[in-house]
Amino acid sequence: MKKITILLITIISTSYPQDGMAIAKMVDERKAPQDIVSKTTMLLTNSKGKTRTSTILSKSINNSSKQILWFLNPADDKGVAFLKIEHVDKADEMRMWLPAFKKVRRISSSKKGDSFMGSDLSYEDMTSRALDENNYKRLENDMIDGKECFVLEVVPNAEIKSTYSKHITWVEKETLIAIKEESYDLGGSLRKKKKFFFDSISGYDVINEIFVEDIQKNHTTKLTMDDIKVDSDIDESLFQEKNLKRLPRN
């Protein structure tokens, strides 16, 4: 079945050259799990090579439109938890549980450029990109690591107040997975280079590693996802403030 799909995509892509939006739509419609659970190791490396490692338990549903994270390590972050709920009709909701303060702190979702826990990922990087919030322009195809890729220029619409002026995204033709991206700041300078690595789990292509390099800060973040579980029937009620206060048993 997968081979037929790939063949069809290849035929379509060679016979009827798609515009950027069509490719973005195909990427968006790619088969994705209902929910994902993973234990993520976040390795931050600064310009002097100094590293900091965090371990995070992550649970998400609906293509990460609802996500809850619990910090397991290091010691001074242990117990800190983060909840993100994306809304269509209003601003996204973000809350953090800070055990030292015993308070759930609501944080602004408008500052999308803020770094997530000192990493090179901003809250905007962690938010799903809605199709109609961006304009897509197809660029010349390219080869990355021997894989033929569609190349898209993604320009966020002004109304979403993105912290980026554009992204250049490399989408692997065979799998329709974004494997590389460059993001440019509002001044048009290259800000971040991102690489995405995937693994096939239960018939889905699931990200198992993300490498982000902040070119301007000379700082990198490597996220490695282990113990990945998909479609484990996560109850939507998990994504509530009360569940931030407690590390889940599973």
């Binding site: 100094k50 010691a75 117990g79 500052k111 450029g113």
Partner: protein, 427 residues
């Protein structure tokens, strides 16, 4: 057989539970700016937090060792020990614990469930609070949260009595030589305190209301008894105070606003037949409005407007300068409950921020507190440098400047201006 089965189940449960241990070691030195002399105030040398999760239950333990340079007498402090049950509708907590209400950072007029530890007033979060035996229940229902807390016994603020290194010299009432009585405070007949709060989300705004009924955390002079013309017996105790609170968190573009206000009503209701009974009643309002902004470089700048306004005060009291009985009014009334920083200034402005340097190895925090009513400022700068993972060196300076009037709170704090060094290890 039944007991063995229960024991087996319990053993399995304990074995398959999750144990979490965190803690820190923080040797700290504090020195006066004026003459670089060491300030011998206690600090928390070590902290240990244990969490044990078993099914829907969490067992939490929070302990510390207090140490004071110059005295080889470490003091163990079991700060919290409580159990939490997490049913799917909310949570129930029971034991010695610290509750945290309010939405602003550091100054919370609506957070009156636990007493303050005045030795640790400059620590963040719950570190400056005292645990109390209490039961709390929170119910979550959609966007709504309802929390109720019952505290069976009254715990007052821990005051630094007879501490030469503390800025405000407070004599312990029991040490008064005016009476033979050893009991410093009048007994509270009904010490039960309780609080309720309701929180919801309306659009992009979180709104909460709260109510607390309890006793003051700081003592007041309630009256005077006399046995003869020489022996005067001052009556010290805690007024009954109720607080209606309002909390709001909202966003305007890139600015986060956290605001809270408390309306306090207090009265002396000891109903004793002392020689002089100070029938005190007062109303006051405390508020904090906090603005937060994060810059493009991810540094944070915040401002807090902190206010304390006595709306009405009637009764009698004693003029602390002349020791004569006088009429209580809005100028000489001293609140016994609320955020301590609102009590040292009628209205003040706090500006704070943080910035990181050297690839986030060095974190700089600064704070400027300005008394808007009379002359007085506090400048605080803290720098924390992360040596290696879990280790950091922390240095801070707190500088107070008042005017030359002795009654000015910041003037009294001037000699408390200090710098502090700390080596911290977290595990």
């Amino acid at each position: 057989m039944g007991y063995r089965y229960i024991l087996l189940i319990l053993t399995c449960k304990i074995l398959f539970g999750q144990l979490s241990i965190t803690g820190s070691l923080k040797p700290t030195g504090m020195f006066r700016i004026s003459d670089q002399s060491r300030m011998d105030l206690p600090f928390r040398l070590a902290e240990l937090k244990l969490g044990y999760t078993m099914g829907d239950f969490d067992f939490m333990l929070n302990s510390a060792v207090e140490y004071r340079w110059g005295e080889n007498n470490p003091v163990f402090d079991l700060r919290e020990a409580y159990i939490v049950w997490f049913p799917n509708w909310g949570e129930i907590k029971f034991g010695k614990q610290i509750h945290a209400w309010g939405v602003a950072d550091g100054n919370n007029p609506t957070d009156n469930l636990n007493a303050y530890d005045y030795y640790f007033m400059f620590l963040p979060g719950t570190d400056r609070k005292l645990g109390s035996l209490s039961a709390a229940m929170t119910i979550y229902w959609g966007d709504w949260q309802l929390e109720g807390v019952i505290i069976p016994d009254h715990i007052p603020n821990r005051m630094p009595f007879n501490e030469p290194d503390f800025p405000f010299q407070i004599s312990e009432p029991s040490k008064s030589d005016a009476t033979d009585k050893t009991l410093p405070y009048e007994k509270i007949e009904n010490p039960i305190e309780y609080g309720l709060r309701l929180k919801t989300t309306v659009g992009e705004t979180d709104v909460g209301i709260s109510y607390f009924n309890g006793k003051d955390r700081s003592f007041s002079l309630l009256g005077v008894d006399t046995f003869n013309i020489i022996k005067i017996d001052p009556k010290i105790g805690y007024r009954e105070t109720s607080v209606f609170g309002l909390n709001v968190v909202t966003f305007i573009d890139d600015i986060t606003i956290r605001a809270e206000a408390g309306y306090f009503t207090t009265e002396n209701n000891y109903q004793e037949s002392w020689f002089q009974y100070y029938d005190t009643k007062a109303e006051y309002v405390q508020y904090v409005i906090q603005f937060e902004y994060r810059t493009v470089s991810s540094s944070t700048i915040g401002a807090q407007l902190i206010g304390n306004h006595v709306l009405n005060a009637v009764g009698q009291t004693v003029d602390l300068l002349t020791m004569d009985q006088t009429t209580l009014n809005t100028d000489n009334f001293i609140p016994g409950l609320g955020t301590p920083f609102a009590m040292i200034a009628e209205q003040s402005l706090s500006i704070s921020g943080s910035e990181t340097f050297f690839d986030e190895s060095l974190e700089l925090n600064y704070n400027l507190l300005i008394n808007l009513e009379e002359k007085g400022q506090m400048v605080g700068i803290n720098a924390a440098y992360s040596l290696i993972e879990n280790w950091s060196i922390d240095g801070s300076v707190s500088y107070f400047k008042g005017d030359d009037k002795p009654e000015n709170s910041f003037e009294q704090l001037e000699d408390f201006s200090h710098f502090q060094f700390q080596l911290a290890y977290s595990f």
